[in-house]
């Protein structure tokens, strides 16, 4: 053997290669612990170089991030609730975009941490690191008391979209209602896929991570660019119509105690703030509106309540029907499906996954059982996810068909990002008096409202008088 190896090292290439190929047929794989070629005995005093390895980042860094996140949220809370300063919120968001976005490059963020928590609950082999759990919980806790201050200036995804709002347009109610179902779907699917160990789709399809890393595969960069371009006209499209964490924040913020308010004192219904919100998250007074007669209202509500269980079951059934295609996203199930397809049709070419599976010599039965288990879990998850979406849709329908009396201009608490844009428009706000100078947006809006005919401001359309009074 030794002579053959010496020969291999010294002789001409062609013969050596041929010998090697011949040898390869007989030699066992080198993945065992014996070496095909013995370690050389150097006579020239050669030392083996060390394989250089760079250490990973330390855990102290993660704790620093938790501390910085809490600090940023606290400052944002002061700006949103106490000083009501748009300028403060803005500059904090720029700093957070720089740090949490471009320096930390996005991971781990509270949005993605949803999946870690879901996996920690459903997968006994995985435990959520404490820092990740805190990153998930702290913004929720803040939202529970102070509203979505995380969205206002701490979230890097929100900040990058907030910077590009140039020409915001208002979407029709029907469109926003339909689109606002997507975050629930995304949240549910994210949890389902994480719980079945299929993948972290929320992280995978994060549109802005490529920008933060200044690096990435082109489809995701195009996706991010698309979101930013859309965001010029439709303000913060990812936050409003996709963000799964926003759903959870909204649930907390709905019950928040010290939420940002448009006016610091009493609302005088001056209507200056009406056009200030690019997201259309301001509830307008409706006390003067014609009430619909009681009978038809009750009738519609009864219909909707009867519909609710139907929607839940229908949603669940759709989820159940989709569970098999969804489970193909899981690599184990996918491999099992491929193996079965190849067995059924021997003409099929082997894929990388089936080839690797054969190569590794694992038990096919075990794989099939594992795949079946995942499919069963996916099926249960499909029912739950579909049912949940049906419930959300039903509750949304009930929500829009019951009108709560609204006396003043107020932010829509579950949705409001606490960006404090509206604060500067409120004339009762002594702190923002400097904003109310000739030529400022608030001033122009006020003029347009007071005298819609005279003021030549075609962009600022004054709302119909009959709507309010």
């Amino acid at each position: 053997m030794q002579t053959i190896l010496g020969y291999l090292r010294g002789r001409t290439f062609l013969t050596a290669a041929l010998t090697a190929l011949a040898l390869a047929a007989f030699l066992p794989s080198a993945s065992g612990d014996e070496m095909r070629f013995p370690q050389p005995e150097f006579t020239s005093g050669y030392d083996f170089p060390e394989t250089t390895v760079a250490p990973p980042k330390t855990e102290a860094g993660q704790w620093l991030d938790v501390a910085l996140l809490t600090l940023a949220l606290s400052i944002a809370t002061v700006f949103a609730v106490k000083t009501r300063s748009r300028r403060g919120i803005f500059w904090l968001s720029v700093i957070c975009l720089g740090y949490f976005g471009f320096i930390k490059q996005g991971c781990v963020c509270p949005i993605g941490a949803i999946q870690n928590v879901a996996m920690g609950i459903f997968d006994s082999n995985y435990a959520v690191p404490l820092t990740v759990m805190l990153i998930f919980l702290i913004p929720l806790a803040f939202a529970l008391y102070f509203g979505r201050v995380f969205c206002a200036s701490v979230c890097a995804l929100g900040a990058i979209q907030d910077l590009v709002i140039l020409k915001p347009i208002n979407l029709p109610r029907k469109v926003t209602l339909g689109l606002s179902m997507i975050p629930y779907l995304y949240l549910g699917a994210g949890i389902l896929f994480a719980a079945t160990n299929t993948g972290f789709i929320i992280c995978r399809y994060d549109p802005f991570i490529g920008f933060f890393r200044l690096n990435g595969n082109s489809p995701y960069l195009y996706l991010g660019a698309g979101f930013l371009l859309t965001g010029v006209f439709i303000a913060r499209p990812y936050c409003r119509f996709f963000c799964p964490y926003g759903v959870l924040l909204g649930m907390m913020s709905r019950f928040s105690r010290w939420h940002l308010s448009i006016t610091p004192s009493e609302c005088v219904d001056c209507r200056l703030c009406e056009t200030s919100c690019p997201f259309d998250y301001i509830d307008k007074p409706n006390t003067g509106l014609d009430r619909e007669n009681r009978e038809s209202g009750v009738k519609r509500l009864t219909h909707l309540f009867v519909m609710l269980p139907v929607l839940i079951v229908l949603g669940g059934w759709i989820g159940h029907r989709l569970s098999i295609p969804m489970s193909s996203y899981n690599q184990k199930v996918f491999t099992a499906e491929q193996i079965l397809a190849e067995q059924a049709n021997p003409d099929l070419e082997q894929t990388l996954y089936t080839e690797t599976f054969d190569e590794m010599g694992l038990s096919e039965d075990a794989l099939m059982q594992e795949a079946l288990k995942i499919r069963k879990r996916m099926n249960v998850g499909g029912w739950l996810l579909g049912g949940f979406l049906g419930l959300v849709f039903g509750v949304k329908l009930i929500g829009i068909s019951t009108i709560r009396s609204q006396k003043d201009y107020e932010v829509v608490k579950p949705s409001c990002f606490s960006c404090a844009r509206c604060c500067g428009y409120c004339p009762s706000d002594a702190m923002h008096k400097p904003n109310f100078v000739a030529g400022s947006p608030a001033y122009n809006a006020a003029l347009a409202l007071v005298n819609p005919e005279k003021e030549a401001q075609p962009a600022k359309k004054a709302p119909q008088e009959s709507k309010v009074s």
């Binding site: 010496g6 291999l8 010294g10 290439f13 050596a16 290669a17 090697a20 390869a24 080198a30 993945s31 612990d33 070496m35 095909r36 070629f37 370690q39 050389p40 006579t43 020239s44 050669y46 170089p49 394989t51 390895v53 760079a54 250490p55 990973p56 330390t58 855990e59 993660q62 490059q105 991971c107 781990v108 993605g112 999946q115 870690n116 920690g120 435990a127 959520v128 690191p129 404490l130 759990m133 805190l134 806790a141 529970l144 993948g199 972290f200 992280c203 995978r204 991570i209 890393r213 690096n215 990435g216 595969n217 019950f255 105690r257 491999t335 990388l352 996954y353 080839e355 690797t356 590794m360």
Partner: protein
């Protein structure tokens, strides 16, 4: 509960709001407590097990960092220092020189240095390596398998869910303790006891 005793001071809406808010606060607290006491405290990082790797080239294409944070490493103690390195040369290379047409590596990332007859040292130039594993495959098939892939933690951005891991056909990726962030072959080999050593002891 305090608010039950003084119903006249709280509107019905405010009472419900407070109740739900407190329930939510409790739920968040429970989750936090669950994490604090039930979780693994140890920090982990992604790494790939070279024994499971099948050199499918996904590491070079699927990583969110481009070029990939996965690089080839050379474990010198198990390298054969062959003059004819199957990881370095094309199978039908005309000559055993560093000319591009002779090399297997698409980015010229392997350095070949003469040590003494007939031994040559092979180094990976990490800045050029793209983690394609084209050199790893023949080294494992015909050589000592001293070339293998590892995630370099100075480059890895530690994604929450490694996107190569999602595509890896042999499930070679897993989270490993951060204090042992690399699976180096010569290190694992030193820890192994060969049958010969066992019989002697």
């Amino acid at each position: 509960m305090a608010e039950l005793k003084t119903p006249d001071k709280l509107s019905r809406f405010e009472f419900i709001r407070q109740g739900i808010a407190r329930t939510a606060a409790l739920a968040l607290g429970f989750l936090g407590g669950f994490a604090a006491f039930g979780s693994r405290k140890k920090n982990t990082v992604w790494q790939l097990d070279p024994m499971k790797c099948v050199q499918c080239e996904h590491c070079s294409t699927e990583c969110v960092v481009q070029p990939s944070a996965v690089k080839c490493v050379q474990s010198y103690p198990i390298c054969g220092y062959c003059r004819l390195c199957f990881g370095y040369f094309e199978p039908n290379a005309p000559e055993l020189t560093a000319a591009a047409e002779n090399q297997l590596c698409p980015t010229n990332a392997i350095e070949r240095i003469f040590v003494e007859d007939p031994y040559w040292e092979y180094n990976i130039i990490e800045d050029l390596c793209i983690g394609c594993a084209k050199c790893v495959k023949p080294c494992e098939q015909f050589g000592n398998a001293s070339f293998y892939l590892q995630i370099r933690h100075d480059l890895c951005v530690d994604c929450n869910n490694c996107s190569i891991a999602m595509q890896c056909p042999s499930e070679a990726f897993s989270r490993v303790p951060a204090d042992q962030p690399y699976i180096l072959k010569h290190k694992t080999r030193e820890q192994q006891v060969t049958p010969a050593q066992f019989s002697q002891s």
